[in-house]
Amino acid sequence: MTTVYVPRDSSARSVGADQVVAAIELEAARLGAPVEVVRNGSRGMMWLEPLVEVVSARGRVAYGPVTPDDVAGLFAAGFLDGDAHELGQGLTDQIPWLAEQDRLTFSRVGVIDPLSTQDYLSHGGLFALRRALTMTPQQICDEVTQSGLRGRGGAGFPVGVKWRTVLDAPGSPKFVTCNADEGDSGTFADRMLMEGDPFMLIEGMVIAGIAVDAHEGFIYIRSEYPDAVATMRAAIETAYQAGWLGSRILGSEHGFDLEIRVGAGAYICGEETAMLESLEGKRGVVRAKPPLPAIEGLFGKPTVVNNVLSLASVLVVLAHGAQFYRDFGVGHSRGTQVFQLAGNVARGGIVETAFGITLGQMLEKFGGGTISGRPVRAVQVGGPLGAYLPPAQFDLPLDYEVFAEAGAMIGHGGIVVFDDTVNMAVQARFAMEFCATESCGKCTPCRVGAVRGVEVIDRIVAGQQTAANVVLLQDLCELMTDGSLCAMGGLTPMPVRSVLQHFPEDLDRPEGARP
């Protein structure tokens, strides 16, 4: 029996993975070849999807991108023995794009059957939880703090400090919530982890529960990720059966219950307080802070709110120790970040690497230029609220503080590439338009400012009093940054200002020009 891996990841399915599986099963039956197809997560080399891997005597051999029409030829060429074919990529683990990464958090994604407890255990699963069960809550919080792990959702707050605050906060019950409302365009790491290694997130939530003395958790997943919802639900059910969730976890005194809640298309619910409101069944309107969610969060109780990758990264910290994790990275940006190369890029996908690599290295070494073959003109880092950076800035190392100083942010690690056909005035306008669409409406700078922002940019593009309107736009950006209640209105000016700073020629319209 030969084992063949074809991803169940929704991105792989979007380009025909299911049809490839059907073709493989049909051809295997026709030839009488004993083949077992396992649906794994994606290795994150999206340009090779659907990526088919065959377990050969030499190891896992990759072929991609495979279409159903290629399948008969692959069989004929002897792909079940790992033989050569024009789609052959060699041994998966030796593909340089993959081999040169630091896959710590994503070590199992694409490797295992996501819903196999046996696969999970044989690849280091539960090691961190077993260790956590021997530690006191304070020790867990301290170790996470020492690792330097900062929240991967975008804000970059130290995870251990947040946990310690919840642990020390009076009140009961306490909650652990996972923010899986990954709404930033250009980001998909949370989705791929939930689809490719769901037990890792469950284990991270249970450890967070032990660390802060909480016994109930919620994962808030956006509705745009139906496959992630289905996979996480199936994994939770399996985890209960295996004793990884429930009243006595792994036979210990600790109990933890976990459930999935699904969003309903509102980007703002990725803001932590709006997410808590939504979990409570209300409109996703942001709350004023303080009080912090760590003190008064879900249903007014002390609550951990962490991103998927933050909770998953805790496993690396506990399994290998704080020092191991700390040794990756630079400055105050420790460990690895799961970057996501997206947009107009030849080799897009998941690049997990230590902080400190420059944007240019990321684009050259991994991105391989644009898919259109045209020169790169701009790269947006950190989602819709992140800055657009020109090639002159590509020497910036990916480091929270360096990016902040440059008027940019790393955010959730999305890197969206644009070629030279992009009109940056359109992108600046879109930033304001997106904010106007997605604003929760609670504070005026965001609700009204974004609408005014669209109007001002329209006037600039139409060549109406261009210079005066650029000044007005800059004033508006300052007001939104300083006066908004949350990051939605507060950071929308970041992409707009970056266009004004780095691409002024696209907004420099002669008087009376037509758009």
């Binding site: 929704s10 991105s11 399915r13 979007s14 380009v15 999206m46 340009w47 999807e49 990954e182 709404g183 930033d184 365009s185 250009g186 980001t187 998909f188 989705r191 509705s223 745009e224 990720y225 139906p226 496959d227 919802v229 289905a230 459930e259 809640r261 699904v262 969003g263 309903a264 298309g265 509102a266 939504s278 979990l279 409570e280 069944g281 209300k282 409109r283 996703g284 309107v285 249903f299 996501q340 190369l341 997206a342 947009g343 107009n344 890029v345 897009g348 996908g349 898919i371 259109s372 947006q380 819709p384 969206v416 070629d419 992009v422 359109v426 992108q427 879109f430 997106f434 669409t437 997605e438």
Partner: protein, 172 residues
């Protein structure tokens, strides 16, 4: 109003609505799961369900109305037979998303957020489907497709079988 709803949805019935609400009423913060369940059952949240939800969950009708109208996913009118979403996020914009969006609205004869006059299709915009390295991305009846340009969209829509919707996305 369209009477001919998608074949996989139940026609409006207060009894079915109450049963659906009751199945989710016991959890913490039940309103959003209840509304998702109603939409999964009927294809939309009928305004006639609002007082039933309010009464069962001990909320005001204004509370329910407020939540129903806040979330873009929740609809108060029946959808078309087929549902198409086109991603408008930056990653898809960078690979031809603007052109695809324009093609979708003109070829389907409706703006985003609308349903074609004959009830055949509802077209929505969506901000990111998490397929950002394989855009432009669309969904047709819940199934995601990557690297979709104008001609691919036409082909997808002409070959889509409304009875073969992707049911993996049970969001209740």
């Amino acid at each position: 109003m369209l009477s001919d709803v998608s074949p996989r949805h139940a026609p409006w019935s207060p009894d079915v609505a109450l049963e659906t609400i009751g199945a989710h009423a016991g959890q913490r913060g039940p309103l959003l799961p209840v509304l998702h369940a109603l939409q999964a059952t009927f294809g939309y949240v009928d305004p006639r369900a609002v007082p039933l939800v309010a009464k069962t969950l001990n909320l005001s009708r204004a509370d329910v109305h407020g939540v129903l109208t806040f979330y873009p996913d929740l609809r108060s009118t029946p959808p078309g037979k087929m549902r198409v979403q086109v991603c408008r996020g930056e990653a898809c914009q960078s690979v031809g998303g603007h052109a695809l969006a324009k093609h979708a609205t003109s070829s389907l004869g409706t703006d985003f957020g609308g349903t074609a006059d004959d009830g055949s299709v509802t077209l929505d915009e969506v901000f990111c489907l998490g397929n950002c390295a394989l855009g432009p991305t669309v969904t047709v009846d819940g199934r995601m497709h990557g690297r979709v340009h104008a001609a691919d969209l036409d082909l997808l829509l002409s070959t889509n079988d409304v009875n073969n919707a992707d049911v993996s996305g049970d969001l209740t």
